[in-house]
């Protein structure tokens, strides 16, 4: 099964080599990436989206909130670890307080009572930790089935998955069931966003890539990234020169 998916990805990737657009320096493997992107998109439209749409239609929003909270609670533990690794001790303590409250009073995490208590949920992972330590993103990558990534975040995602408590769950069929539920929930939450992407983009691949790179940069700096140099240059290229400098 796995070999067949890999073979399909390879064929799709080779087909992608035909296009000869000028290369973006952030995306040296663009033809390969586009191939994998097309493969992912096919799988998404054939399987993931229909499943997610059915899930959203059949399961009431109230229950879906519980499912999202349950997996969110599992994630919070390593979000805390990553905050500690990034030297953000206050955030790390807050994340672990979330786990403590939500696992107990929140009944194994299905109720996010910690948010109501003022412990806000954070977004951290190993890719962001490496970024915080000074690692640049490296070349942009599209991973089979997992989608947009880059060299740094790809390694980070590997560790995220390896460290994930879900991997400890036995028997295996329960573990696989939980992974499937988690991805279905995730895909269902992204249905609106992906529809907006379809509508907004002239070239979905480029639009998603640029959004991913911007988003990750923002996350590494916790929403306060330093201004990029080319931003100012482009601003200077504008018509209204009388605009006051920042």
């Amino acid at each position: 099964m796995r070999a067949r998916i890999a073979a399909a990805a390879l064929v799709a990737a080779l087909a992608g080599c035909a296009s000869t657009a000028e290369r973006d320096p952030r995306d040296p493997f663009e033809p390969l990436n586009r191939g994998i992107y097309r493969f992912n998109d096919t799988v998404d439209q054939a399987i993931a989206q229909p499943v997610a749409r059915t899930y959203r239609r059949v399961v009431p929003g109230e229950i879906r909130d519980r499912v999202r909270n349950f997996f969110g609670n599992i994630g919070d533990f390593f979000i805390g670890v990553n905050n500690f690794l990034q030297g953000k001790f206050e955030d790390g303590v807050s994340d672990w307080a979330r786990v403590a409250f939500n696992t107990t009073v929140g009944l194994f995490g299905i109720h996010d009572i910690a948010s109501d208590m003022g412990y806000e949920k954070h977004n951290e992972d190993f890719g962001q930790t490496f970024g915080r330590w000074g690692a640049g993103p490296g070349p942009y990558l599209v991973l089979p089935l997992l989608g947009s990534s880059d060299l740094r975040d790809g390694i980070g995602t590997g560790i995220d998955i390896y460290a994930d408590p879900l991997g400890e769950v036995r028997p295996y069929h329960l573990q696989y069931g939980l992974w499937a539920l988690r991805f279905t929930q995730l895909r269902a939450d992204l249905l609106d966003a992906s529809r907006i992407l379809e509508e907004a983009a002239l070239d979905k691949y480029v639009f998603q890539r640029d959004a991913y790179l911007q988003r990750r940069r923002s996350l590494v700096y916790d929403g306060q990234p330093p201004r990029e140099k080319d931003d100012q240059e482009d601003k200077g290229a504008e018509d209204d020169k009388d605009k006051k400098p920042r």
């Binding site: 999202r68 909270n69 949920k121 509508e199 639009f207 988003r215 209204d240 006051k244």
Partner: protein, 215 residues
């Protein structure tokens, strides 16, 4: 003689004061207040409109046209999204580009609003000096079990009040995100090519049968 002269000049002063006072009125609304008022008003209108809630897109777009668009500077947005290519465009091309980009952004904005209008908003206090003419207004969309999504409006003071020239959602600048796409198209098929692909895109979105995603 002197009397009429002073009368005339008084009338002129009054006229002048009136003329300058009118655009000044618009400026008086501070940018963060403007964002808050408009957001809450639009969300409230959507919440109370059964037709929009049941998917009447044309009506939603009409609402956005009337309530939201006047506060956006689409000329500046298009110029920023095009970067260097903007200066090479003729006035006619600039006009068409701005129109098409505006239509595309409104369609996208309508979908986003329809999807997220049920969420709670948190309006952050503005961190700027009263003399600033370029500020960022921060709004956060709160959602159950997930990190809040920050929406930052880059706004600039103009003669007609504060205008939005970029929107950042979750750290992703809408304008910057279109830059690579636009430049790719311009490199391959010129500015007219970009106008054409934007208008083709807009027409597909306007087609009554909602595209693929709806299936």
């Amino acid at each position: 003689m002197t009397k009429t002269r002073s009368l005339a000049s008084a009338a002129l002063v009054a006229l002048f004061a009136l003329a300058t006072a009118l655009p000044l009125r618009a400026q008086e609304v501070p940018p963060d207040q403007l964002v808050k008022t408009v957001t809450l008003e639009v969300v409230d209108l959507i919440a109370r409109d059964k037709e929009i809630r049941s998917g009447n897109r044309a009506k939603l777009i009409e609402l956005i046209d009337a309530k939201v668009l006047p506060h956006f500077n689409f000329g500046a947005m298009t110029a920023l999204a095009l970067g260097q290519s903007w200066n090479k465009a003729t006035p006619e091309q600039k006009k068409r580009l701005t129109e098409e980009f505006r239509t595309l952004l409104v369609r996208t904005y309508a979908s986003a609003l329809a999807a997220y209008s049920d969420q709670k908003f948190e309006f952050r206090p503005l961190r700027a000096k009263p003399t600033d003419t370029d500020v960022t207004v921060q709004v956060r969309v709160l959602q159950a079990g997930a990190q809040p999504v920050p929406i930052d409006y880059s706004m600039e003071k103009t003669a007609a009040g504060w205008k939005v020239y970029d929107v950042m959602v979750g750290g992703v600048s809408l304008v910057a995100n279109y830059r690579t796409e636009f430049n790719n198209v311009v490199r391959e098929s010129g500015i007219d090519g970009l106008i054409k692909s934007l208008s083709t895109k807009n027409r597909t979105l306007d087609a009554p049968a909602a595209p693929t995603a709806r299936k």
